[in-house]
Every structure is written in structure tokens, then in C-alpha cells.
């Protein structure tokens, strides 16, 4: 059975898109890789509960704000499939292949809304593959989904709003923070200052940011600024982190190191579909090119939420609604005039959320020494253990693109399929060649975008739910 609208991802963008599309009588299918809805931001929200009055609210009010989205999807006439891993998709005809309980299904759709969000920019520093080194978001996931109060000496390093938030959440949970190492420089503050007036019109968001800074300051934890030369140490597991703070070398003993340098759009799906992408210089990532509704270079294919550029959860919710409205209009379920009328509030909400972005994008610019690691022994591709040195060596023998690099070195060929090394590889090659990463390009992404058992692949045509195109 063909879906009118296929939504991939049940975070804020996907949930609001699916709910909105269903409201217009469309047959909606919502695929999500997780076992319960909410995406990363509202992860495990359905089974968590706000603390009683007086007790510290560790996860914070923004987390509990996702509840109406979950309630809405519960009520909506949507075929919601949790635990579904999308491994292939094509635009002509519009088809999505997914894996559920180790079986594969192929489903056709008239519209596709990709709401696969963002993930944390990999932070390739020496020693980042050691057990005990994680992304800051991973620690947050343990708090949200595992009910975990992290123990041991924790060091957080990097930059970005999420790093601040996780620091505050850890503080509230009573964790022992041995240090916060900020890579943000004075230059970043100056560059960000000119975006302050616009951000002032998003007073709420600005206030929250300042509050987090105050909380951190008041806690008395050691904060090091202008940090460079990060290096994680340890044999079988991390035992410390060394760095320079404003040029002065230092080292902190740690049991857990949390790295973070912002989040980047998850472009695996949009790359697979060969959609147009553009390089976003302030945050140094690629994002799919979309119009005001989120429609991509392929007709009927939309990106909603952070997958089209990082604007945060509330903007994602609005963009999901906009994509669904346009899809409904294109499918004849909604006259254009009504679409425009109903879109007004969502456009306004998205615009409001976006006001603070230029400030954040410039204040928390990923530092050059992180996006383009200099230490030759730094592992870039974690799966195949390809180092900076290896990439330079390949380039010396005439290899100057990421796709040739794969063939030369296996870089990007492991199970993560380039998610962890793709950006770094393009940056390293760009620097070596003296051109922009956009000119170097990115890995060509192909099916399968997630590993799939051969048994499921072989049984493809036998599945009853396979829709012949």
C-alpha cells in the first residue's frame, strides 16, 4: 500500500510533520529508528516524569516541553513504525527500504519528508577512540534514557550550546566536574558581537544561554578558555586530558571525557538521494538546499528540522508542519490559500527561533584545529583507523578526492559509512590543496546507508509488503 506521505524520523520535525499531514486526511507512515518517539531532544520522554516540586529538575523545562508532540502523535491516524532502520531510498519512483526486526520492507510513497535531524560533529583529537571518551550528547542520552547519574571525574571539552547545557545538567545531578575546557576564543566573541542585536529579539533564548553561563560560573568548577591542543590519554581507558589554555600547557586527570563541537545535519539520506547541497561556512557543514517549505531539489522530497541546517527543536517542529502543509497542498488535500493561512504561525515560530542563530553560529564556530586536526597520529576514520598522516600520504601519491581516498586507504569504508570521518576528510584535503571543502566534495553515499543482514536482502522479493514499483 502506497503512503501519501512517508516521514522518516520521529523527533520534533518528524512528529509534527506526521501529525499535520494526517490532519489533512492523508495516509501517513512514520518510520523511526528508536524504540520510542521523541528523537534525541525528547528521548525517552514518554517514560520519564518531571521531578516533584522542590527537587532539582535535571533535564530542564525544555525537555518536558516535548510532551504535547508525543500526545498528538498518539492521537493521530499515523502508521508509526518504531525500531525501523531505513537502509535505502530512491526518488524515481519514490521508495523507501527499511529494516524492522531483521526483516526488510520496501514501501512506495507519494511524498517523502526526511526528518533525520543532526548529530554531533565528530571531534577528532588524539586519543578520542579511548573508552571513557564520549560525545557530550551521549552523556545526555544516558541521563535521559538510562536514568544515569554519571560518576567519576568528568571533563567536558569543546564549544556550543549543548556543551553548556550538558554541563549544567551534570551539575544539577551532582556529578563531579573536574573541568570545562572551552575552545571558544576571544576572536569568536568579537565576531559574534555584531549578531547580538538580532539575537536580542529572541530574548528568551538569549536569557537561557546567559543563565547557563551563570550556573556554570556560580558552581565554581574549573573553566579553561581558549583551549587548543586537546589530547586524551590512557592505555585501555581514558585517564586524563592534556591541553593548552591560551597557550599555557595543562593536564587534568579524568575518568570520563565528554567532547562536543556543535551539531551538523545528518545528510546520509539527502546524499543518498543525490539532492543538491550547499556548504554553510559559519558552522562548516553541508546542508541540503531547500525552499521555504523544506522542499529539496527533488520534487515531493522535503527535509524538515535540523537535517536542513541547525535551528533547534522548536524551529524543527515548525518546519515539520510547513513541509506537511506543502505536501498536502501538492497532493491535492489542501487548497493553496488554506495552506498559506495555516502556515502563518509556523513561519513566524521558525523565524523567531532563527533570530539567535547567527549569534550562536559565529560564537561557537568550530575551531580550525578541531575541524582540521594537525597531529599526524590523530585517528580520522575510527572504523578503519586511518590517521591524518595516512591521508596526507595518499594525497602525495596523487589522490585528491574523498572517493579516491576510500579506494586508497579504506578511509570511510567501515560500518559507520563515513559519518564519523566525512567532514574531517573533506576539510583535510581542502587545506592540503588550498581550496574550499565544497570544491573537494564529500563521499558519494550509496545504498545501504545502514548495514543490513544478507538474509533480509535475499528475502526482499518474498516479503508481502513489498510494493512493486
Amino acid at each position: 500500500m502506497k503512503a501519501d506521505v512517508m516521514v522518516i524520523g520521529a523527533g520534533p520535525a518528524g512528529l509534527s510533520a506526521a501529525t499535520e499531514a494526517a490532519r489533512h486526511g492523508l495516509k501517513v507512515m512514520l518510520l523511526d529508528e528508536q524504540a520510542s518517539p521523541g528523537g534525541q531532544i525528547y528521548r525517552a520522554l514518554a517514560r520519564n516524569t518531571p521531578p516533584p516540586a522542590g527537587a532539582p529538575d535535571i533535564l530542564g523545562e525544555d525537555y518536558w516541553r516535548g510532551r504535547p508532540l508525543l500526545d498528538a502523535i498518539d492521537q493521530a491516524a499515523v502508521e508509526y513504525v518504531p525500531g525501523a532502520t531505513v537502509w535505502t531510498a530512491e526518488t524515481d519512483p519514490l521508495t523507501v527500504g527499511y529494516l524492522k526486526d531483521e526483516r526488510s520492507f520496501l514501501r512506495a510513497a507519494r511524498s517523502l519528508i526526511i526528518a533525520t535531524g543532526a548529530y554531533e560533529r565528530p571531534v577528532p583529537v588524539p586519543g578520542w577512540t579511548l573508552p571513557g571518551v564520549m560525545s557530550a550528547g551521549a552523556a545526555q542520552i544516558l541521563m535521559k534514557a538510562g536514568g544515569a547519574a554519571l560518576n567519576g571525574r568528568i571533563v567536558l571539552a569543546g564549544s556550543g550550546p549543548l556543551l553548556q547545557l550538558v554541563t549544567c545538567q551534570l551539575l544539577k545531578s551532582g556529578a563531579e566536574i573536574a573541568g570545562l575546557l572551552e575552545t571558544t576564543t576571544t576572536k569568536d566573541y568579537l565576531a559574534a558581537a555584531r549578531h547580538l542585536p538580532r539575537a536580542l529579539r529572541a530574548r528568551d533564548l538569549l536569557r537561557k544561554g546567559l543563565e547557563m553561563r551563570r550556573t556554570i560560573k556560580a558552581s565554581g568548577i574549573r573553566v579553561h578558555k581558549g583551549v587548543t591542543n586537546l589530547q586524551c590519554h590512557g592505555k585501555e581507558t581514558v585517564d586524563g586530558i592534556s591541553f593548552e589554555s591560551r597557550g599555557k600547557p595543562d593536564r587534568i586527570e579524568a575518568d570520563l571525557v565528554l567532547l562536543h563541537e556543535g551539531v551538523v545535519p545528518h545528510v546520509q539520506m539527502s546524499r543518498l538521494l543525490d539532492l543538491s547541497h550547499e556548504w554553510f561556512e559559519p558552522q562548516r557543514y553541508w546542508r541540503p538546499v531547500v525552499d521555504e517549505w523544506g522542499e529539496t531539489s527533488a520534487k515531493g522530497v522535503f527535509i524538515a528540522g535540523d537535517g536542513a541546517g541547525i535551528d533547534g527543536a522548536r524551529a524543527a517542529e515548525a518546519s515539520g508542519r510547513l513541509a506537511a502543509l506543502q505536501a498536502a497542498a501538492q497532493l491535492g488535500a489542501l487548497p493553496n490559500a488554506e495552506r498559506d493561512e495555516q502556515a502563518g504561525a509556523a513561519f513566524a515560530q521558525k523565524a523567531k527561533e532563527q533570530r539567535i542563530r547567527p549569534l550562536l553560529d559565529h560564537l561557537y564556530r568550530p575551531p580550525a584545529h578541531i575541524v582540521c586536526p594537525e597531529d599526524p597520529s590523530t585517528i580520522v576514520c575510527r572504523c578503519e583507523e586511518v590517521c591524518v598522516r595516512d591521508i596526507h600520504a595518499c594525497m602525495e601519491t596523487g589522490c585528491d578526492g574523498p572517493n579516491q581516498l576510500k579506494a586508497y586507504s579504506r578511509c570511510g569504508m567501515g560500518p559507520c559509512q563515513g559519518r564519523m570521518c566525512g567532514l574531517t576528510v573533506s576539510e583535510l584535503m581542502a587545506k592540503q590543496r588550498g581550496v574550499t571543502p565544497d570544491e573537494v566534495g564529500y563521499y558519494r553515499i550509496r545504498t545501504p546507508i545502514k548495514p543490513i543482514p544478507l538474509s533480509a536482502l535475499a528475502a526482499m522479493e518474498a516479503d508481502e509488503e513489498v510494493v512493486a514499483s
Binding site: T397, G398, L454
Partner: protein, 361 residues
């Protein structure tokens, strides 16, 4: 791959060599390569092709050692025999007939290949149970396998070591004679050379015409799959199935006439996977990590083309379907031809004129 081998061979022989190549996303036939050095199915009905193939594979061990030395890259070359697995009785019957015909053509001694039955086949694979419908296989000690990606890298490294250079992002727009030299124009650059070797895969036809040669080639798409790593299970490579040195299992390859489309299809993936699982049922629980489509180069009779232009002496063309198997020949025989101005007798039947012979009235 053909160009890399010839360039390496020329540089090693002391020539001053420049390689002009397209950019990062060019149609590189080498990408679709399965990594077999394969003799047992090559040249039934074309004895010179069989002889050329076998001679090339006989030179492979030396090539692998030489490249290891010059580039530091271990190509993981093994020549311990290869198999074609048969499923069902008709495939077995067909394979037996094929072997018999080949032996008749090439001579029993020269064509070293035998049909083996199920128990013999299972003995060769102590760690991998064969499927219930497998009816046997042909086994030839002539065959082997190698890491084709490392081969390409080793040729590049070796080229550089011998003083040659590679220029990527230089798709050739024009080749012309200018006095005693050739001028090769790529976008903004023009390179001069005494001799030019065209080994441009699917681009060969277009470039060969610029030096007065008519070399018809067409693309054949091959989809290839690679699984996650697993413990050693396949001690021998098979047609369409081999385990790489790092432990992944390669499954291939489709043969499709779809023009210049390098895409992949779910149907293609499913078909290859089903055949692989029929051969070895345990594969069902491995995961597919990567899959891709690449365009191979096909001439009208499937054989290679080697020629020097009559109208533009000093311009050569080399193209073939089996760039890995024939690599040792490309790195040895072809450079000799180019540098000594004398066509080796082994290559006399591989000119493109064979495609343009008018049928006798």
C-alpha cells in the same frame, strides 16, 4: 587501472611519464574490480587471449613482489587456485562441457582446470558449509586474487618513485600532433609529449578517434557488495565471491547493459545475495556494509585492444575488461612496445581492425 600499469612500467624503464586523469568522481572501471586474477574462463574460442591472460598471471607473483618493494604496499596477492561454484545439475553439466572444450582448444596440459564434486568442494572449505543445491565446482590452480584498490595505489606510488607524476582533475579535451610532438589539452593546461598512450576506459573511444583509431567500447555495469568483516572462511576466491585479506566478503557482480548509470538496484542486490547464500548459507547472517555499481569496459568481442595509430605514429591505445589480471602484462609488455617501437608478437591479434573487417562476400 590499465593506464596506471602502463605508466608505471614506462617510468620504471626510464621514460619521463605524466599521467592525466579525471577527477574524484570519474567513471573508474577499477572501482568495480573484484580483485580476481582470473584465467579459467578467459579465452574459450580465442586462444591468443587465453595465452595472453595466462602469461600475464604467470608474471603476477613477480609484479606483486616488485610493487611491494617499490611502494611498500603489500597487495595481499595469493595464487592458490580459484573456483566457479555450480548450483543445480544443469550448471554442473555446463561447466563440465566448458572445461572439456577448453582443454580441447588449449591442450590438456595448458588449461589446468578440473571439475570437483560436492565432497571434494566441501573439503576445500573446512570453515564454511556449502549449500544443499550446490552441485560442484570447477577448480583451477591458475587463478588467484589480490586487493585491487591497493594495486592502484601501488602503481601510483611506484610511478612517483620512478620519477613520474600524476595529475588528477585533468580530463583530456584534445590530442593533436604539433610538429614532432603531441599536444594534449586539458581545460586550461596543455601538455607536450613525444608519445601518448590512451588508456581511458570508457573515454577511450572518444580520445582514440583524435589519433585516427576506431576503438568501439561500451559500458557494462557491475554491482558489487561488501559485508562486514568476519573470521577467515574462504581460503579460495570464487567467481563472484571472495574474502578479502581484511576479512570482508565481496559478492559480485551483476552484468548489466544500462548505459552510463552507475546506480545500484535492490533487485540486483537481492539476486546476488540469494546466489551467495545458496552457495554458502552462513552468509545469510552477515551484514552488507557497502554496495556500489561501476562501469566496466566492454569491446565487441570482450577481448582487449592494443594498437598504435598509423596516422599518428607514437600514439597508442590500450583498453580491456580485466585490468587486474592483465596488469603484469600491461606493466611489462606494453611499455616495451611503446619504447622500442616494435609490436610484441603476443599482441599482434589485438588490434581494433578486427572489429572492422567486412564479412566475406
Amino acid at each position: 587501472m590499465v593506464g596506471a600499469a602502463v605508466a608505471y612500467g614506462l617510468a620504471r624503464a626510464g621514460a619521463h611519464v605524466r599521467v592525466l586523469d579525471e577527477g574524484d568522481t570519474a567513471f573508474r572501471a577499477a572501482r568495480g574490480n573484484f580483485g580476481l586474477t582470473w584465467v579459467q574462463t578467459k579465452g574459450l574460442g580465442n586462444q591468443p587471449y587465453f595465452e595472453l591472460t595466462r602469461a600475464s598471471v604467470d608474471g603476477w607473483t613477480a609484479l606483486a613482489e616488485e610493487l611491494h618493494e617499490v611502494s611498500g604496499i603489500d597487495l595481499a596477492y595469493r595464487r592458490n587456485g580459484g573456483l566457479v561454484i555450480c548450483i543445480g545439475d544443469s550448471e554442473a553439466e555446463e561447466r563440465r562441457r566448458f572445461i572439456a572444450s577448453f582443454k580441447q582448444q588449449a591442450g590438456n596440459e595448458n588449461y589446468d582446470c578440473a571439475f570437483i564434486d560436492r565432497p571434494e568442494l566441501q573439503e576445500l572449505f573446512p570453515n564454511a558449509e556449502i549449500g544443499p543445491t550446490v552441485s560442484g565446482a570447477s577448480f583451477s590452480p591458475m587463478d588467484g586474487h589480490v586487493n585491487p584498490l591497493f594495486l592502484l595505489r601501488a602503481f601510483s606510488g611506484g610511478l612517483k618513485r620512478h620519477g613520474g607524476s600524476a595529475h588528477t582533475g585533468h580530463a583530456v579535451k584534445e590530442i593533436r600532433r604539433s610538429g614532432s610532438v603531441f599536444e594534449v589539452r586539458t581545460g586550461d593546461h596543455t601538455f607536450q609529449a613525444d608519445k601518448v598512450v590512451i588508456a581511458a576506459g570508457l573515454g577511450t573511444e572518444h580520445l582514440a578517434r583524435m589519433v585516427g583509431l576506431d576503438v568501439p567500447v561500451r559500458p557494462e555495469r557491475g554491482q558489487v557488495l561488501v559485508t562486514e568483516r568476519t573470521s577467515p572462511v574462504f581460503p579460495y576466491p570464487m567467481s563472484g565471491l571472495r574474502q578479502t585479506d581484511e576479512g570482508t566478503v565481496m559478492i559480485g557482480a551483476t552484468r548489466e547493459d544500462v548505459g552510463y548509470d552507475t546506480g545500484t538496484t535492490v533487485q540486483g542486490f537481492a539476486g546476488m545475495t540469494r546466489r551467495a547464500i545458496a552457495s554458502f548459507p552462513f552468509l545469510a547472517q552477515l551484514r552488507l556494509v557497502r554496495g556500489w555499481g561501476a562501469l566496466r569496459v566492454l569491446t565487441p568481442d570482450g577481448g582487449p585492444v592494443y594498437a598504435e595509430s598509423e596516422s599518428h605514429p607514437g600514439a597508442y591505445v590500450a583498453t580491456c575488461h580485466s585490468g587486474v589480471t592483465l596488469a603484469s602484462m600491461h606493466a611489462n609488455l606494453l611499455p616495451r612496445w611503446v619504447l622500442e617501437n616494435r609490436r610484441p608478437s603476443e599482441l599482434s591479434t589485438f588490434g581494433p581492425e578486427r572489429f572492422h573487417v567486412q564479412p566475406a562476400a
